[in-house]
């Protein structure tokens, strides 16, 4: 079979400079999304428990 790898080059991300910063951004983004969903849940929760 032919060599499966034409290239295995790593490269920096297109923004923020390092992959570590990208990963931190994803985690912050997730925290914001969950926080937003929590606010959404509380805002429209029934006034008495179901």
């Amino acid at each position: 079979m032919t060599d499966p790898q034409r290239t295995v080059a790593d490269e920096p991300p297109p923004f923020l400079g390092t992959w570590k910063r990208i990963y931190i951004l994803v985690v912050i983004y997730l925290a914001c999304v969950i926080g937003l969903f929590y606010w959404f849940t509380k805002s429209f929760a029934p006034s008495s428990p179901i």
Partner: protein
């Protein structure tokens, strides 16, 4: 469906299959057939990964999940972005640098042939079941909606998938997915727009939110921990992360997608795109289900959503009484809903009482037919209320979404069969053209297998849960062995092998005590790592 709907549906089917064949043309080597010669850009990989997950099951079942149980299913995806980050940092560079075609090939580099074979067999069993389910589940629903015999539906779906996957390989699969993803989003936006448009003039969008909330449908986040509760923030973040780690890190149907990347960076970006898009997308799909529920507060839904079951109920002597109960409960619920909007006292109490009566009438009707109509709720909405032509488009997108999921699965099953079984154990030194031919034969084999399995597997409830439950029985064990391979340098081959067996035993034991399947992945992974590490330690001491 009207003539225009049928025309739109067939036009989309022909267009998508032709597009897949065109993009997959010239797959003349195994490298091209299995890895697209490592030419895929990040957005194609990312969209393809999302499209494979946003299969027909997403349309049919996720919307229904929100209709029945509220939006809490979104928590299932909370761990996914974390898993994407971990995999981008670990698995992506390791697999790329190991120069492998399959994830399991790496296990032989790291451990030995028997560990690779064991995990390969586990993958073939679990993914084989998954492929059958992915074909069967939507085929059951579509055959009823389209009025086609079940086996004919399977034959058409399976036949088209085999055609473009066997000829075009991973390139055809990935590029067809990109197009599919665009159409999925368009169809969802149309369905959402129609749901909002169907609200009565006196019910604003904010009122719709208020009603969905009052009915308990906007429960996106549950912070209370309960071991037996399938979906809360903890099971989503921890169990969901383990499931996503296992699915995207060890399941060849996903690993193969990011192995097609031009570089490590492109593969990482593909996963980051998935991390950013998946949770909001699932939220939106569930939100559509919640809005469909609100629409059906004012537009009377059928007693039973499954058309064939409805006919059985209508033929029964109890039909008139059931229909009368249902009608009365619907009227009471509608009046209570308007009371909630105008903040009338006791409106919420009346609403719940009416909902209980309505659910009881529906349950009695479903008992008469013995059917579960959860998976027909969204399609019932689509076929009854969307404009002519758009109905055909949405049904066609659901049809091809099922094909998209299956094509990725049979392509990965074929790749593993050829690379990890056939080439490794049966025909070691054949020319590349022979393996390419074998890959196409294996694709046809797995396609036929999925069709045969699908035609015998029926009777699942919520499809999305069934698919993830089957996966969770195996993923924990597979994830555990890759954790050992990546992070436990001293782990021996025997430790890894016995660890996987122990992990699978632990998962099946856990499944006897709880149906909260997200935790199976955590339990399985931890047992594999613990047993593998202990055995390796004992072996090191004995030496």
């Amino acid at each position: 469906m009207r003539a225009l709907d049928w025309a739109v549906m067939f036009a989309w089917l022909v267009f998508l299959v032709s597009y897949g064949l065109w993009r997959g043309r010239g797959s003349s080597s195994t490298q091209e057939f299995m890895l697209a010669s490592k030419t895929m850009p990040w957005y194609a990989m990312g969209l393809s990964i999302i499209a494979t997950q946003a299969s027909a099951i997403t349309f049919i079942s996720t919307t229904a999940q929100a209709y029945v149980d509220g939006m809490r299913f979104v928590q299932f995806y909370f761990g996914l972005p974390l898993a994407m980050v971990i995999l981008s940092a670990t698995a992506v560079p390791i697999f790329h640098r190991a120069k492998v075609y399959t994830a399991y090939e790496y296990l032989e580099h790291r451990f030995d042939a028997k560990t690779r074979l064991l995990v390969t067999v586990i993958f073939l069993i679990s993914r084989g079941l998954g492929a059958g389910l992915a074909l069967s589940a939507p085929a059951i629903v579509l055959s009823v909606v389209l009025g086609w015999p079940f086996r004919v539906t399977i034959l058409i779906m399976g036949g088209l998938v085999i055609l473009y996957t066997a000829l075009g390989g991973i390139k055809a699969v990935t590029w067809a997915d990109v197009l599919q993803m665009a159409m999925i989003m368009l169809a969802l936006l149309i369905a959402f727009g129609v749901a909002i448009w169907m609200l009565p003039p006196d019910i604003s969008f904010f009122n719709a939110l208020k009603l969905a909330g009052a009915a308990g449908k906007l429960n996106a986040v549950t912070t209370t921990f309960d071991w037996n509760d399938r979906y809360n923030i903890w099971s989503g973040l921890i169990g969901g992360m383990f499931l996503a780690l296992a699915y995207f890190g060890t399941d060849q149907s996903q690993v193969q997608r990011y192995l097609t990347g031009k570089s490590i960076g492109q593969s990482r970006l593909g996963l980051i795109l998935t991390a950013l898009a998946k949770v909001p997308m699932q939220f939106f799909i569930l939100f559509i289900g919640a809005m469909v529920f609100v629409v059906f507060l004012f537009v009377r839904p059928p007693l039973v959503f499954q058309p064939v079951a409805m006919e059985q109920v209508q033929a029964s002597s109890q039909y008139a009484a059931l229909e009368s109960r249902y009608e009365q409960a619907f009227d009471q619920r509608q009046a209570a809903a308007r009371g909630i909007v105008s903040s009338a006292p006791d409106a919420l109490r009346d609403f719940r009482a009416a909902q209980t009566n309505l659910d009881a009438a529906r349950a009695d009707a479903l008992n008469l037919s013995g059917a579960n109509d959860t998976n027909y709720i969204f399609l019932s909405f689509v076929t009854r209320y969307l404009p002519v032509g758009i109905v055909g488009l949405v049904v066609a997108v659901i049809f091809t979404a099922a094909m998209s999921a299956i094509s990725g699965e049979i392509n990965s099953l074929a790749t593993v069969t050829v690379i990890d079984i056939y080439k490794r154990h049966m025909a070691k030194d054949s020319p590349d053209s022979h393996y390419l031919w074998a890959s196409r034969v294996a694709t046809v084999f797995w396609g036929i297998y999925a069709m045969v399995f699908a035609s015998t597997a029926t009777g699942f409830g919520a499809l999305i849960e069934a698919v993830n439950q089957v996966g969770s029985l195996f993923y924990g064990g597979m994830l555990g062995v890759f954790v050992l391979a990546f992070f436990v340098k001293r782990c021996t081959a025997t430790g890894a092998f016995v660890g996987v067996l122990a992990g699978e035993a632990a998962i099946f034991t856990t499944a006897r005590f709880t149906g909260a399947f997200l935790w199976y992945n955590v339990v399985g992974c931890l047992v594999v790592v613990a047993v593998g590490w202990c055995i390796s330690l004992v072996q090191a001491r004995n030496k």
